[in-house]
């Protein structure tokens, strides 16, 4: 069989697997563009988990009680774990973790724009749990059914743990809302800052999102950016009411006809600027990641040397 014929037959097999909603596994033939799209998406997802440790890690030493400190530590440790699940999934596509980290530090691969915003008050820990992890859950639950097996399995584990993240955040805010006027003002100020960046987490509107159609055809992505954003808004409004905070959008109101809330789009120019590197914390986040990598080098080298000496002693 000629190469062209063989490729056509492999492609037909691949299409049939996708067609019957079955999963692609690492050993299967896949179109190079499918592989490249997945590397890009899963790597970005893994980087987001790892960089996402920084904004909240900022408050570990200053958490107001031992209980809150233990919760925050557990949460940040989970983010590290989520990053590792995803790097493992990405490695099945034929890349190494070292390469991905290198690309991240060189700015050649991205992470979620939300982590380029600073955490200015302790209330931000609660808001990130409620809104940022809430938005992440909207994005991630459909990804459990993504067509690439290893990615779906990683997402399954992550989603199970993510629910703790959202609930601890909401409970933190609820506790502050039943405190003093100053504490309530802190929560409101934090929600005002994070609402718009949280809406941006779903990516640009569908009309400007060229990757969505192909990703949906391959069932890598299961819902469009706009659908997920709408779902998030509809979910958040009653939660905000229960909390007693105001979402900072004067146009936010129930639309009987659509059966959804109408809302204002976030500032997409700001989004593009943050993605391109001009967000408030871009440079700081990458510098910190690089420092952690450099300062940990001697530990990795020592572990490698120890393993080698153990092997030599044994033989």
């Amino acid at each position: 069989m000629s190469d062209t014929l063989q490729t056509a037959s492999l492609e037909a097999d691949f299409d049939r697997v996708i067609e019957r909603h079955d999963r692609i596994e690492p050993r299967d033939w896949m179109p190079e563009k499918y592989r490249a799209t997945l590397v890009r998406q899963v790597a970005q997802h893994a980087h987001s988990e790892i960089i996402g440790m920084q904004p909240e890690g900022n408050w570990i030493t200053r958490a107001p009680s031992l209980r809150r400190k233990a919760i925050l530590l557990a949460k940040v440790q989970d983010e590290a774990g989520h990053g590792l699940y995803l790097y493992s999934a990405c490695e099945t596509l034929g890349v190494t973790r070292a390469e991905l980290t290198e690309k991240l530090i060189a700015g050649k691969q991205k992470y979620s724009s939300i982590f380029n915003y600073p955490t200015l008050s302790y209330a931000d820990v609660g808001t990130i749990g409620w809104l940022v992890d809430g938005a992440a859950i909207c994005n991630q639950v459909p990804l459990c059914r993504t067509s690439y097996g290893p990615y779906g399995r990683a997402m399954n584990r992550i989603c199970k743990e993510e629910s703790f993240h959202q609930r601890q955040g909401f409970e933190l805010l609820l506790t502050m809302m039943s405190g003093t006027d100053a504490q309530r003002a802190m929560v409101q100020e934090s929600v005002d800052r994070f609402w718009w960046p949280a809406l941006m987490m779903f990516g640009p509107p569908d009309v400007e999102s060229p990757n969505t159609a192909q990703s949906m055809a391959w069932r890598i992505k299961r819902d469009t950016n706009d659908d997920l954003r709408q779902k998030f808004v509809d979910m958040s409004v009653p939660q905000a009411q229960a909390l007693g905070v105001t979402l900072p959008d004067a146009e936010l109101r129930w639309n009987e006809e659509r059966g959804h809330y109408d809302f204002t789009q976030p500032d997409w120019d700001e989004f593009m600027a943050v993605v391109k590197g001009s967000g408030p914390c871009n440079a700081q986040r990458i510098a910190h990641r690089k420092r952690a990598l450099d300062e940990g080098a001697w530990v990795r080298e020592a572990a490698t040397a120890f393993a080698r000496s153990q092997r030599e002693d044994a033989s």
Binding site: R27, S88, T92, G94, T304
Partner: protein, 122 residues
Amino acid sequence: MTTGQKFSAGGGHGAIPLEGVSTGLGEPPQPEWPLYEIFVRGKRGLNHVHVGSLHAADDEMAVRHARDVYTRRNEGVSIWAVRADLIVASSPDEKDPLFDPAGDKVYRHPTFYDIPANVPHM
């Protein structure tokens, strides 16, 4: 049965191709630490089940890392860590002729046999 391509049982989800993978990332360097596949026994009475993979410098570190990465919420009572390159996989192709002989032997299933409805306990 084989495609002539090189594969490695890597990444926790079966073998992955070592060549012909265009990621735009250039030739991948050898990872410093070997890859381990991790299996966890959820509770007594159950099999160890594959949960994922990780890199570690040696066997002992693989088990310690597996505890931190895969059992943060009492998910297990026992961990196996297996070097991925020691795993023998059936073949790179999931719908391999290796499994064909089972395909036409429907008589190996209980539902192949018609038993009158009034016969009890069968």
